[in-house]
């Protein structure tokens, strides 16, 4: 049993929110169907928007909070198959509706074709508008398989992007539309060919023409490689009831422990065994039940810190490439040499480096370097040519008086 003060501390650790009575802050509990999963929401204020509930209560931070006025479209989600602004939907009234968020687009961790096209066509810069854009493009292509540019522009007019302009997004729309049309055409052709084959076989065997059933023909589903090499090792987090302590020991190898405890924002973990199976060359390092995994594509050598200034770096590498400061430059870069200290003579230059202060300038006319002042000029005690120290009377001062 918890006591009251602990409860209030838990709810509001800083004590900032004033205690509001239940009549002023009416709450409701409901269940949202998000991306096909039932997600219960308990004791939420009825004025909370769907965007807030998705982000803050359910941990689905894909939809972004831009303006909270329905102007920017960064919060676009689908409710019952319709594109809506998540910030303008009361979450309590979206209960029992089918909600699709941008997290649902990338099923199994692989980016959808829309997301890949957006990334490939340079439609992403700061990325804040991108989840909304992806939802809008997805929604457009669901309703209209071959959108014209005007239709695409009209469909995207509710998504503001201040970085890239909309050219890349429009290109992505056309790319995805073309790719999907091609795919559908190929599938159709394959189905037709298979049906013809089946019909020919049937007629050859039975001697009578038998109508081939196109539904019976199984077309091989196109399995696209996942964008991320580790996508197949990702285990979606499933919220579990806290179990009794003696059952914990049994469950360990079956379920992965939740790294952030119960009710946190943990969304999933990497499956260690799958990772090592996928990447045999690179051993997964397991420490404290957390899996650290080095993806392929990076150099396998240990990390080299950038050398300090003036450090000598070896120039050549056995494979012919130039390696500079630990990075493979890929071309024959000039070898860096540290700047010599002051006063060090440069090897290539004729002159001998900058002399230290107070050194008399060498006379190009062959005059004696020291003490060789011309006759008639009073000696000031300073070698000729050098700047005299402060307070020393110079011959020019005599003319001033």
């Amino acid at each position: 049993m918890t006591t009251d003060p602990i409860e209030t501390l838990d709810a509001d650790p800083l004590g900032l929110a004033p205690q509001v009575s239940r009549e002023l802050r009416p709450c409701a509990s409901y269940t949202l169907r998000v991306n096909g999963f039932e997600r219960p929401v308990t004791d939420a204020w009825i004025g909370e928007s769907l965007l807030y509930v998705l982000r803050e209560r359910l941990g689905l931070a894909g939809a972004k909070d831009g303006c909270e006025q329905g102007e920017c479209g960064a919060c676009s989600v689908q409710v019952d198959g319709q594109l809506v602004a998540g910030c303008l939907v009361p979450a309590a009234l979206a209960a029992d509706s089918e909600i699709n968020t941008v997290e649902g687009l990338s099923a199994g961790g692989a980016a959808s074709d829309v997301q890949q096209a957006l990334a490939a066509s340079g439609a992403v810069q700061c990325g804040y508008c991108t989840p909304g854009m992806a939802m809008a493009v997805h929604d457009l292509l669901q309703r209209n398989h071959r959108p014209t540019e005007v239709e695409a522009r009209q469909a995207l007019c509710g998504n503001l992007c201040r970085c890239t302009g909309y050219r890349g997004v429009l290109a992505a729309v056309q790319t995805v539309a073309d790719a999907r049309a091609l795919e559908a055409e190929e599938a159709e052709r394959a189905a037709a060919a298979a049906a013809e084959e089946a019909a020919a076989e049937a007629s050859a065997e039975a001697g009578a023409p038998v109508a081939a059933e196109p539904s019976a023909v199984e077309t091989e589903p196109v399995i696209e490689p996942p964008v991320y090499a580790d996508a197949e090792a990702w285990i979606e987090h499933v919220p579990q009831q806290p179990s009794a302590p003696e059952q914990d020991q049994v469950q360990v190898q079956a379920t992965v422990e939740q790294p952030y405890g119960d009710g946190g924002y943990d969304t999933g973990v990497y499956d260690t065994s799958a990772l090592t199976a996928m990447q045999p060359g690179i051993p997964a390092q397991v420490a404290d039940d957390q899996v650290y995994y080095q993806p392929q594509g990076y150099p396998e050598q240990p990390y080299q810190a950038t050398p300090a200034h003036g450090t000598y770096v070896p120039a050549g590498y056995p494979d012919g490439h130039q390696q500079q400061n630990g990075y493979d430059t890929g071309y024959d870069a000039p070898v860096y040499e540290p700047t010599p200290a002051h006063g060090t003579p440069l090897p290539g230059a004729l002159h001998d480096g900058t002399p230290p202060h107070g050194t008399p300038y060498p006379d190009p006319h062959g005059a004696p370097a020291d003490g060789g002042a011309p006759a008639g000029v009073p000696t000031t005690g300073v070698p000729h040519g050098a700047t005299p120290a402060h307070g020393i009377r110079l011959p020019e001062d005599d003319h001033a008086s």
């Binding site: 009549e23 002023l24 802050r25 009416p26 009825i46 004025g47 928007s49 909270e68 006025q69 329905g70 102007e71 479209g73 676009s76 409710v79 319709q82 594109l83 809506v84 602004a85 910030c87 303008l88 939907v89 009361p90 309590a92 009234l93 209960a95 029992d96 809008a136 929604d139 009209q154 469909a155 007019c157 509710g158 998504n159």
Partner: protein, 288 residues
């Protein structure tokens, strides 16, 4: 609370008069997000399917459900019925808002820049307000001007619009090319049966304005039995007439000092130019 039928919704509102009936929530949630409104309770109207369509009645009227979304009004079948309302719904906002924003919500919110309001004012639509066990009919202009406002516990259910079978035009001037709030909008419908032109100007005042004198004058200029053509000069004069009638001289004046200066303010001149161009074009398109 999500009632599935109209009777349930009306009963729920009668039980809790402080509850806010919510259809598309686009205006309500904007106020809630900004902290201007804290609803005591919500009655969601999204499940009442009978309000999401329309039906026909004798006498050439269409009865539109209050839950008709802007996206639904934009479709060709509706646009053939009431073209001006379809045009207004098309320009009302981005798809995300049009998919959920409803006709009834637009009327009840009565925003100055509400796009369907001048169309309904020009069509002289009436609305049905239902309450537990009773309902009443109110002209939409009375509702908007506050002559006959929505009482507590009442629900706007139907909008009765005459089917005129004549050209209708809705034009809107905005600050940008995308969906935006109107700086001025003009709805113009022809009523050949009564030989009348009805025009309403939105977004220049808190409610849509009807320039009745300009309407009567221009209706007299039109050859109703012939080709329904009008002299371009008369069209331009109609535009000026509408603008002068709808935009007062002290429009946009800040404080008493500017209000007493002679002549129209700069803002009034600018807005009159916009309104006159919109009205002239609307008349030209309707008579084309």
């Amino acid at each position: 609370m999500l009632p599935a039928s109209l009777d349930e919704a009306v009963d729920a509102l009668a039980a809790a008069p402080a509850a806010v009936p919510v259809a598309g929530a686009t205006d309500l949630m904007e106020a809630v997000n900004a902290g201007r409104l804290r609803p005591a309770a919500l009655v969601g109207l999204g499940r009442i399917t009978e309000l999401r369509g329309w039906r026909y009645e004798d006498g050439g009227t269409a009865v539109l459900g209050a839950g008709l979304t802007h996206a639904r009004m934009d479709r060709p079948d509706f646009a053939a019925l009431i073209p001006a309302l379809a045009d207004a719904a098309r320009t009302a906002g981005p798809p995300q808002v049009r998919n959920v924003g409803t006709l009834g919500g637009n009327i009840v919110t009565a925003a100055p820049a509400g796009d369907t309001l001048p169309v309904l004012a020009a069509l002289e639509a009436t609305v049905t307000l239902a309450r537990a066990g009773a309902s009443r009919e109110v002209p939409v202009s009375h509702l908007l001007t506050g002559l006959d406002p929505v009482r507590p516990g009442e629900l706007l259910t139907w909008v009765r619009v005459p089917l005129l079978h004549a050209p209708q035009v809705f034009l809107k001037a905005t600050g940008r090319s995308g969906p935006a709030r109107a700086t001025a909008s003009v709805a113009l419908v022809l009523d050949p049966a009564r030989r009348a032109v009805r025009c309403a100007v939105g977004a220049v005042a808190p409610v849509p304005l009807r320039p009745l004198e300009a309407e009567a004058w221009v209706a007299g200029c039109i050859d109703w039995d012939g080709s329904r053509e009008i002299d371009p000069a008369a069209g331009a004069a109609f535009g000026e007439y509408v603008a002068a009638a709808c935009v007062p001289d002290n429009y946009g004046a800040e404080g008493a000092w500017e209000a007493v200066t002679e002549g129209p303010t700069a803002a009034a001149v600018r807005l009159r130019r916009t309104v006159s161009v919109l009205a002239r074009r609307a008349l030209g398109r309707a008579l084309k």
